[in-house]
């Protein structure tokens, strides 16, 4: 009974925690500019993230290691540290984008510029982590995140053609704006397969002391939680395609994205969008700050843990404090939040192979996984998606940078 409750909570929190600034921004832009034709990118990303999350849970259950810990040990400090530092830097950019998302939500609501919110929002995030126990904060944010289901409901209010939806799930290339289309493919996949997601999940499995009896539970949580989460991401594309594209509105700024729920919900629509954006970004910012501090602690063998007081884990709490401060500064500088988000999602896709590929090596190492090593099929799926996305990122990021100015 307790286990079933745990599974349910796991699924619900992964659904509520799925959307973040990256998936909202990339999906809104994709739907407004290209209609339903980018749905397949979310599908591809979701398939890959289901596999990766399932693997990371299984890895921690079977080997007793967290992923970071094991990558350092398997590949040695010298080979480990450079990709690790790159991943942390990208985490920092994404954290800044998430904080920026919360600030933009407040700007939409009050009209006060987002930069002015950087310090209060960063401070609120930091205080929650400093004072509260993390699982309470974590689960609370993810449960509130269920408000993002309003995007799914909006599809039914607006009415979508199932045939067109299905057509969007097949990869295609548009006749014009191909470079921007490819850049969006990369950012969407980057937004869907954020490495912090599976690093965080593996730490959680260790924290909650999952044993081998959880292998099935892990599979169920990963599959259902991530699939439903992916559906919400698709819902954002669909709603933008139905509500914004016919009016000729493209999403270059969040001011434009904020209009997407108004046709479905009238006066409530605006506030639902603002609430979804604020909660989704704040929840993701919580996870990212923790995931980064976990990773650093695991890399250097410091004490880390969800429910340690700052005094009992000074290096751990200093790490997330420094991360939040740095991200707050990036928001304060006033980079355009939409551009920052799209760029950091594309960079996420670019560095994804740096964590995913070594992780795949571990998943095939019987010394860690015993008889629970990966099947060839799951190796192929993850390697193919991650490598192709990485190559696409190398090509499309410079093109987008040239094309946008």
């Amino acid at each position: 009974m307790k286990k079933i409750l745990g599974i349910a909570l796991g699924i619900v929190t992964s659904i509520g925690g799925f959307l973040d600034v990256g998936s909202i921004a990339t999906s809104a832009q994709a739907g407004a500019a290209f209609g339903l034709s980018l749905l397949w990118a979310v599908l591809l990303g979701t398939i890959c993230v289901i596999f990766l999350v399932e693997m990371s849970g299984r890895f921690s259950i079977v080997s007793g290691h967290t992923i970071i810990d094991a990558i350092r040990k398997r590949f040695g400090f010298a080979a480990f540290i450079v990709p690790f530092a790159a991943t942390l830097l990208v985490n920092l950019l994404v954290l800044a984008a998430e904080l920026g998302g919360v600030c933009v939500a407040l700007q939409l609501l009050t009209g006060i510029g987002f930069q002015l919110w950087a310090i209060p929002v960063a401070l609120a995030l930091w205080m929650l982590l400093w004072l509260a126990t993390f699982d309470m904060v974590e689960n609370g944010a993810a449960l509130l995140g269920l408000v993002t289901l309003c995007f799914v409901v909006a599809i039914f209010v607006l009415g979508a053609e199932p045939v067109e939806l299905a057509a969007g799930l097949v990869p295609s290339l548009p006749a014009e704006e191909r470079t921007h289309y490819l850049f969006l493919v990369v950012s969407i996949i980057g937004a869907t397969i954020a490495p912090y997601l599976f690093l965080f999940y593996s730490s959680g499995a260790i924290e909650d002391k999952w044993d081998k009896s959880f292998i099935t539970a892990n599979r169920v949580i990963a599959t259902l939680g991530m699939s439903f989460g992916g559906l919400i991401s698709m819902a954002v594309i669909i709603v933008a395609a139905l509500a914004l594209k016919p009016q000729g509105i493209r999403v270059e700024e969040f001011e434009q994205a904020a209009l997407m729920l108004v046709p479905a919900y009238g006066g409530w629509g605006f506030y639902l969008f603002v609430a979804s954006l604020a909660i989704a970004c704040f929840g993701a910012a919580l996870e990212l700050s923790l995931a980064s501090a976990y990773s650093v602690s695991q890399a250097f063998g410091w004490n880390w843990g969800e429910n340690l007081k700052p005094r009992e884990a000074a290096r751990f709490s200093t790490t997330y404090s420094a991360f939040i401060a740095a991200a707050g500064l990036i928001v304060l500088v006033g980079l355009n939040p939409m551009k920052l988000t799209l760029f950091s999602m594309a960079i996420t896709a670019l560095v994804l192979p740096l964590t995913a590929l070594p992780f795949l090596v571990l998943m095939n190492d019987p010394r860690y996984m015993g008889s629970h090593v990966n099947s060839r099929f799951s190796n192929a799926v993850v390697a193919l998606i991650v490598v192709l996305t990485g190559i696409l990122a190398v090509v499309s990021i410079p093109l987008e940078l040239i094309g946008s100015k």
Binding site: G76, F77, A78, I81, F300, G301, W302, P310, R311, T318
Partner: protein, 120 residues
């Protein structure tokens, strides 16, 4: 039992006798002996040692930064005879509480963490 030093020991998590984290095995010292096989003299827990594995220059940078919080007893070394348990982690018979690998932890506690309300 044979143990592959690089594969099984280097970069492994080290815990104290109460299972508190001490750090990673950042380096291994071998003793060369006349007419006999070399043997493990000590295992080292020290961030500077790890950075030195990237190159001497990184080691010097790390040492300069670490000198802010490191007191005596660095690099911290322990012997194989102190190992209590060797599995996923290495457990050794010391008390982390006052040990040199936790200098940074204590330094941050004193300088920063404990001065902020709510840290307890």
């Amino acid at each position: 039992m044979t143990i592959d030093l690089i594969r099984d020991v280097l970069d492994t998590q080290v815990l104290d006798r109460r299972k508190q984290p001490l750090g990673k095995v950042d380096g291994i010292g071998l003793e060369l002996r006349e007419g006999a096989a070399p043997r493990v003299a000590y295992l080292e827990i020290d961030g500077v040692t790890a950075w030195r594995r990237l190159g001497a220059r990184y080691g010097r940078w790390a040492a300069r930064i670490a000198s802010r919080w490191q007191h005596e007893g660095h690099p911290y070394r322990f012997r194989w005879s102190q190992v209590l348990d060797f599995g996923i982690d290495i457990e050794i018979d010391v008390d982390a509480h006052r040990s040199p690998p936790l200098d940074l932890e204590r330094w941050l506690s004193d300088k920063f963490v404990n001065r902020i309300p709510g840290a307890k």
